[in-house]
Point group: C2
DNA sequence: AATAAAATTCATTTTGAATTGAACTATTCC
DNA sequence: GGAATAGTTCAATTCAAAATGAATTTTATT
């Protein structure tokens, strides 16, 4: 029985533990990031484990490794796929999933699917207010006008800013310290 | 009894209803915005009603108008004050609160108090991973390296980007359509 | 200093969003 | 076509975060 011929079990065990630590850390990082922006932690966890995985994973892999139900995994994977953050390979009997490593996709998916719809909906609500502005208590007429203008203006700025922000995040390396 | 001398009750009632509608809409808009970024809705509501109010409000005003408890109002007001989004006037017996209308303060408060601490904490976690990179399964060594590099790089970009973003949102009016 | 009013705190309760899992549907393989 | 496996759905459950409110502390007023 040669000890030198193959990796010794202890080393394998250590490698596995380290790989699990690597995975665990990325799961945690993305889980907190998801939470921070009001998304389910499990979605972050799923993206995290896929991001840490050199090989694509199946839904069952993911559910087992994260200790979540198949139902959660299914829903989370769908949400992430719709964001454009992961890719499904359905060419085999059992689909496999891989993270798309360009984090910009995660951001732009969030912007497109969560942020923009809300911004547009409040924009409409605010536009409706504008029409009843003249009927508000005259005493503070100018103030009401200012306040509505402020928030409307900011909406417009945010909407104009978002595409630019994405472009900047994309190419941020080209603008290291020149502007700030 | 002259009908023309003072506002007729019906008109007053209408004015009140309209003012309430104005308030209600802003409460809703900011409440949804808060929720979108993972903050308590009540914090958005409080900022919303202060934003809609030409006159400063007391804590009891706010709790009553929003139908929330004094405890909630107290906590929400403190959080908003710490963000720098509202101002307390403690010169009188009963403190009053007013929204600071520069929405940039709301954003930069969120960035400073919620976003940056988290980004820095994951940055540390990721830096720790870097040291154990050589001990990970050799088969995918290059891939692990790439993945860790990607997420680290993105962290750095985000951290560098944030101050710039705030400056841009501040002065967005000067860059109307020239860049996007 | 005593009283009253305002504001805060925090243990408990509530609430709503996320998760589960069993039933169902779709797909693949023989 | 039928058995087996994969994947989805959604009503019911769980759980974490937010809200409550009674007790307490702080602050102002006489």
């Amino acid at each position: 029985m040669s000890l030198a011929s193959l990796p010794v079990p202890e080393l394998q065990a250590t490698e596995t533990a380290l790989r699990e630590h690597f995975e665990h850390t990325l799961v945690e990082v993305f889980s907190e990031l998801a939470d921070l922006f009001g998304n389910p932690r499990s979605h972050g966890q799923i993206y995290g484990i896929l991001f840490a995985s050199p090989l694509p994973l199946t839904m069952d892999d993911i559910a087992a490794r994260l200790g979540i139900s198949k139902g959660s995994a299914s829903q989370g994977l769908r949400a992430l796929e719709m964001l454009g953050a992961i890719e499904r390979d359905a060419s085999t009997r059992t689909s496999t999933y891989a993270a798309r490593l360009e984090l910009k996709l995660l951001v732009s998916g969030f912007v497109r699917q969560r942020l923009l719809p809300r911004l547009n909906s409040s924009k409409t609500q605010l536009a409706a207010l504008k029409t009843l502005l003249p009927s508000l208590p005259a005493e503070h007429s100018a103030d009401y006008q200012l306040r509505l203008k402020r928030v409307t203006q900011w909406h417009d700025r945010a909407l104009r800013f978002l595409p630019l922000a994405q472009k900047l995040l994309d190419t941020a390396s080209k603008f290291p310290t020149s502007i700030d």
